[in-house]
Symmetry: C2
Amino acid sequence: MVTAESPVLRQLDAFRRIVGAGFVFVDPEVLDAYASDETEDLHYLPDVVLKPGTPEEISQVLRICSEQRIPVTPRGAGTGLSGGALPHLGGVVLSLERLNRILDIDERNLQVTTEPGVITEVLQNAVREKGLFYPPDPSSRGSCMIGGNIAENSGGPKAVKYGVVKDYVLNLEVVLPSGDIIWTGANVLKNATGYNLTQLIVGSEGTLGIVTKIVLRLLPHPQHDLLMLVPFRSAENACAAVSAIFRAGYTPSALEFMERDALEWVMRFVDNSIVPIQDDVVAHLLIEVDGNDMDVLMKDMEGIATLVQEFDCGDILFADDAQQKAELWKLRRRVGEAVKSNSIYKEEDTVVPRAELPQLLAGVKAIGKKYGFHSVCYGHAGDGNLHVNIIKGDLSDEAWNGSLKEGIREIFALVKRLGGTISGEHGIGLVQKEYLPIVFNEVQLALMRGIKQLFDPNGILNAGKIFDPK
Amino acid sequence: MVTAESPVLRQLDAFRRIVGAGFVFVDPEVLDAYASDETEDLHYLPDVVLKPGTPEEISQVLRICSEQRIPVTPRGAGTGLSGGALPHLGGVVLSLERLNRILDIDERNLQVTTEPGVITEVLQNAVREKGLFYPPDPSSRGSCMIGGNIAENSGGPKAVKYGVVKDYVLNLEVVLPSGDIIWTGANVLKNATGYNLTQLIVGSEGTLGIVTKIVLRLLPHPQHDLLMLVPFRSAENACAAVSAIFRAGYTPSALEFMERDALEWVMRFVDNSIVPIQDDVVAHLLIEVDGNDMDVLMKDMEGIATLVQEFDCGDILFADDAQQKAELWKLRRRVGEAVKSNSIYKEEDTVVPRAELPQLLAGVKAIGKKYGFHSVCYGHAGDGNLHVNIIKGDLSDEAWNGSLKEGIREIFALVKRLGGTISGEHGIGLVQKEYLPIVFNEVQLALMRGIKQLFDPNGILNAGKIFDPK
């Protein structure tokens, strides 16, 4: 909180001069609105919220905060799931929401240059109007911002065919904690010119610099897609079908897994029972193919439908039209919200090599049994990325805040044994950092801390996220 | 050279104990064989060549060299074009040639784990036998090593559809200059777990650590491909056709540009005049499409063939069969050798956003006229990656070693103005580092130097490559 002694308070006039008095907020309602993101039920009040309008303003703010050692938490839309935008040390929340312009859609080069505060879906629609395609689309695409997607190296359902955010970022304008403004690379598809600063910034969760311009490569938009929902009587079979599909040479544009609970809960949540679920069904795969030739897509769908029969699936639902596709996708996209509305929960963002999914799922359930928690699992099975939602339900507060962590550790240790890691697309942020030593030893962590120290010697920028300072 | 005082000489016994006496070389013939790579006519003798057999041996060697501040130059096959493997400071050449095993082809997860000393084409063929595809294939794939490809973030003709090396590297085992051995990530397709050390190592040209194991993702191998060679009466038209093809929604699996000289010289070099070149033809595009459905590929080829007519092309040569395809590809792959055999030359590896290619080419020719040099241009036009081969020809030694550099600077300044950069796939190494400040300012360079310092505080590993130490 701001006190007479607070170094933040002493800078309020300077902040007002830099960003304009109308964009410096200290009233409790605003502070409260910027105190949480979508991570569990966590809440930390900042001392001040700044809404700068240009990279130059951000540069001046960071220069002051570096000198005065004031913590700065950059924030996009606050839809993160690992606490990256939580101002857990107080100080400044620096909102990028006013940097919300798409600066250039370059149809000649299939590139877009955008500011970070653009809603991801707005960006997708804008390039779509030119026949172009920006594939990464987190479930929150209607509310998250592209800058946050860069910070977390987001994925989403299309990643299985098209890759994640990092695969589309060509070049970034970044304000460093020193106030220097740099570009990380060039607007080119191939680059062997010095160290890859671009990829170092992608996924660095706002700890190394503040991204103020983003150059993304685009693709021609595929002209058609087809979608089917396949029920399974065994979740392990569903997971096993996933890697069989790829081994058979198919590359679906989405391959999503949902446990029965996930689908039932979300249908209740959105009040839509489009999908009849037989009693013996325990999981579904949502499978999409896309491309420019409908005959090829039909053949692919038939081939995949034949293949999944070998895994004891039930009756396949083929989406008839655009509306049914949209409804099925809405169900998948809103599972997270449905789970959240149902109970306090923790979401783990496990990722393993795709063929290890059956082992991961069986292991999660066994660990749940041991520690007495229920889990609802769903996610991007085609990438081996399984969201494990641990439901508080009847669990005592003591177990929830105590022994449960041991259970999570066991899940992550299993993930590591299977060749995977503890976050596929949500980041480490605040809530996963205690688990980071499960996958990185002191040598690796020392390199990461050294990089942090190099970019941010005074430790102002999202300090204490990903890992604690030494 | 080794002298009684040389710190290298004092360690020979230790090196022999670590890697075995049979793998420590100080005889002049061996030193000479490791004194050059494929970069111009440069030649630097190392003091000793070591051929370790395991990461642990490399670890022990690096520990000693760090303590004793002995320069270490890691080396794959020595096919590099920017001098990355040249031991310009003497000291140790550390050859990775004995780490030449493919450790695991994981058909379940579409991944391969390999040591760095495997020839790229050997790796491609090994996964091909399982129906799998590792796309990046530099022209030197028959002789270069996969570890060198990682070091330089190599590309090759398939990059236009499939991306470059960095897009396939999931995880790396790296020996740090301290002797510590780490993995940089996990064997997963999505990863939001800490800073991306993997992508920091890719393209770092052996300056940060020595890669000893590589995990690559693979694709199902496409079943068919089609190839055509299109002659143009204007090089600018050829370049303009390139971006038109992408804007029309086609994604060829290769889209290569060759000036008339390039094609004529290579046909002479390999003694094969498969391609009749009309008098008015000044450039060619070699265009490949690949996929699993031959009907779709035929349609794509027809569409592209129709489109290129708008750019005043000549008679298109469609490759009839596998042999003709192989011959056309051989021509393209050996252009570099043909140019080299023809004259002393310098090769610049320019890259710009694809639609700026006509401007780049026109600019290169204008600058050549101004400085009196002839250039032969070819390369991966689909990526905007143009190899500019500057021919010594009748140029005086004085101009070659003097004013020519100003001409190169002008080319690179143009590249930068067009949104590009000075190396697309060859790296900076030794011969391009003087030009690096054209694209990076002191802030960016300080970050890169800081990263180098963090990984290699004693500055032993490929020191003086990419940039000079501060």
